[in-house]
Subunit: 149 residues, 10 copies
């Protein structure tokens, strides 16, 4: 019996390793971007019935696991407050170094408010470069102004 | 006597408030992007002599402060490991939610390695949208593969 | 010279004690609710020019302080991650105890997403009760569904 | 053998997913509000015998689990001091941003003391709004003045 | 100018050392128990006008400091989450060792709820004992049952 | 095979729920106060052979568990440095608020030293009160003066 | 079924103890340095197919484990932020004591930037010394200058 | 009056910026390696009288500061347990990633024990490389075996 | 299969309780002091073959466990950074209270350096005293001066 | 005006550096051991009038500082929970490595209880040794058995 969403994540990763499935294949059967589909499989987004069944078929999951995929999960994918994995830490470092810069520039352009992390999309691609290829990430989030009342 | 780079950051912010200077103006006198120029003023990048003097002239800083602007600073712009400011926290949340997704997709595309946070550039713009304007951030970092030896 | 927004908060609190001003009076000169006006004075919201000048006049602040009131502040009003003040801790406890309940009920009613803390308003009142008066707080935040992309 | 109250919470959540039960249904069989009933099922409140048996029938729990539902649990529903789940974090952020505001306004209205988190009730509803529906939460807690002695 | 309640606490302690005043003397001029009076001077309770003026006279405080004594303070008297002072640590240890015991026994006697830390009084005395005198502390707090709603 | 004292605590609590045993009954078979007996069952005190066998008989424990009850345990009953359970937190709050008061008053009465948490006893009772019954706790610990050498 | 890379690390260590295999033997079958080969077995580097199969043969691992060896792992080999093991702590202490020295000297020689921990190699050897042999570690990492944009 | 060794460190850094002194110049007047001399100036090593006076002459320090340079300092140069500065963090990451590798290899070569961080020397140099120059650090520490007794 | 040294520690403690073996008996079969032998059994020291086999015979361990006793363990015997057990905490408190005193006196006698925790021995005995017996611990560690280079 | 005991500690250390006083000289004028006298000067023990005046004369302190020396201080001499100074860290490491050993051996000899850190004395000396002199520390604390009640 499955008692925790992370068990489903572990199942998917284990099957993905054993069957050598790629995330771009997952995105195809889900019918969404590879970014959203990966996040959903890793327990950060809730799927609808059709998406969950497609993922279930691809990874040969049982009905109970497919039911869990449709539940809004307790989000947060990292085991520590400051990430230890070098790839993920670089992103944390960017916020440590550029956090106040992002704040200053968004406020200068938009006034007081935030960039939504919910009404948000992300696109990750390879950018060819003769001095070494680059990772290019485009992030787009709705600006939400603070409400006065 | 100035004994800490953060005193210079405080001076700049204080003068910026008093004289209502904009970061885009700072970028013009520095001759770099607004993203880099802001980060440099906030103590995250080292300026060269010419840049430091231009910033010094704009904010009416003394020679000692201008000398500090050219020193590689102890980086890290946030007072706590988990940021409390809502705008900056949203970025931390993105890493918490999408961190493992970024890791999976970069590894699928590039193999084991990281996206550099040093050979890195960033561009922040307003994206007009009838449902509410959006913040669009493009990040580009060189992929660095792990070396085998 | 003021180099930090919290110095303005300290100034306001110090003047408020010395002159025995009430937050409801502050709200009147600001022209917003007492909840928003108090938060703005305590460095959690940015005022517009007119509001800042009214507050400046009430608390006899200098021009530099009035300029700071119009800057989007680095938010976060508490000195520790887990608050030590008993009144504020009770709110933290409510989230600790009822956090998963709020999550379950909002998801059941709205699906996956969050209640905005930005497009948000709050109203605090005394509720007369023969067994002892009660604090009644009404909170209202826009529901933001997670975007699929 | 059950050796921990959280095992019962896991059992209930697991059955709820498998049988697609709604919290409003749970509230009906418990005979209390959906807010209290959900919190009680999630291990934050102790049920009386009748309530526990009704929940046991609904979720097909064994007698041992039903006995556990009547024990005052070790409360606290979140795995970390600062919550990682975006929905729950927003509530934590509200306290971070508005904590001192709540303190000031309650003290101005009532004097020194706290709002009880024990003699407390909560009501969560959808508030229809043309600009997007809102989550409305009404919280009511008895004011408890500090005792002089 | 005083901008923080802790400055008043420091003033009082400094004067107390210089003038060798005893807390029992403070309690006399305040007209409350020595326990409450000490806590109030140390910034954990708010005094009324008469109490504040009596304390002000005893310690030769200025009017501004006397005004601060009447404000509900941001409570919490210790610099670290786990206290380092051996005397105070022993109390923390008692909770670490006996915490679950207190919980079990209060629940067995009263049902689910808490002992109030607000409607609370404390009495500390010397208990003569041939094997070495003892510190005797009597604590009394109202039981507050969890409300069903 | 039992490899950890906490397994015995879990066993006792599990049996206590299933068989609806009260701590006062436990105290009777142990022949000590309910406070000490509860703490001993919860893994904070070591029992002698006779006490352990009485507890073993009451809870139907095996010989191995009875042997563990006689070992001095690794003490500390709470899972976090700052307790999350509201009842136990109130005690932590009392130390946070009254810690420096306890220190001042004990030093004024006894000089530099501590109240022992080892040569210590505790008595918890219901105190009838028309405004709501109260929890009364009497704590008594030997004063230990700092040694000069 | 293997659901986590650390299970493979445990398997390898367990087999290494049982079969008394040396890391230098592992390095031989892997065909890389002993430093890289050890780190790869301990879950910090990803192997290619050939390397994974050689390690699998040496430690008698099943196919599933061999598949996991080829996945880029979630890196970070220590259970706590400040290491408790005396050998590993000495390295942490070196950074604590010499961290700002390394920063000053690298900046003086190279300007603002970092030493890569990715394009990095390490060589550990015994250095004979009459006063007691020494551990000699040579570390070499590419200097990466901060990019201006 | 100087009451803390870090005030001397700040003085030295401040003078170093103002007078554009290089660490290699400091090493010359101290008569030791640049690595040791820098660490000593930054408050991590104690100088002898001659070294302190040479440093005092170079940075125009007063006698009191020169006296402080000869005191064994409270060591530890970083403001947080996990460093935020990207250059210093890379070193922390190396320990996080390679910590267990260092442990395994040192134990395989030397048996149980540690590499001394006291009887230790370090040499940092530029390593020319057509693909980009490298930072080369040679560390040498005496092996200290655990004593059996 | 044993995958972690702590499983062997648990085995030994479990057998020690079941068979009522004393540490002094263990020391006899190991042929070292009771202090070293206990630490080695608790996973803090590595035994040689002969010692491990003697311990294995005494506690009836299997060959795999005996192999683990000869591996240099990942040291650190406490579950939290600040220990919760009252006996162990008292030692932590001694360092908190006397830490700077130890530092001052060792530096006054020996100059800058440390007392080794590796080339170290410890002897614990009962010291008879009419006012209550005392625990006497003699610690001896080699002084290691900081090396200049 | 002195508002904190640590200001007196800073004064003493500053004067000690400037006047090159030794702790053994301090001990002579105090008339106690060098261990106790140092701890008292560093703010961990309270002096009597005579001791405080002798220390005041030696370090040329004002009357206010001498008054503070006689107050029971808020103890705890280290700035962080895990000490960063290598000398003090070694003591912390000893507790980390030997903590459970101390616990086992004291319980085996004395039963459940603790070694007092209050009725405690310490003696630190140089132990001549041809292989390098050693630091020898003898600690003696009264055993306090847990009380049954």
């Amino acid at each position: 019996m499955i008692t925790d969403r992370s068990q489903v994540t572990n199942l998917i990763i284990s099957k993905k390793v054993a069957k050598a499935i790629k995330w771009t294949q997952v995105a195809e059967v889900v019918g969404q971007s590879k970014e959203w589909s990966t996040a959903a499989c890793l327990g950060q987004m809730a799927m609808n019935k059709q998406q969950a069944e497609a993922v279930g078929a691809l990874f040969e999951l049982e009905d109970e696991a497919i039911a869990w995929l449709q539940i809004a999960p307790y989000k947060g994918s990292l085991p520590t407050a400051v990430p230890t994995d070098p790839l993920i830490y670089r992103w944390y470092e960017l916020i440590s170094v550029y956090g106040t810069t992002l704040k200053e520039l968004i406020h200068e352009e938009f006034g007081d408010g935030i960039m939504s992390a919910i009404d948000f999309s992300m696109d990750l691609n390879r950018e060819a470069d003769p001095k070494g290829d680059r990772v290019k990430v485009v992030m787009s989030g709705k600006f939400l102004p603070y409400k006065t009342y």
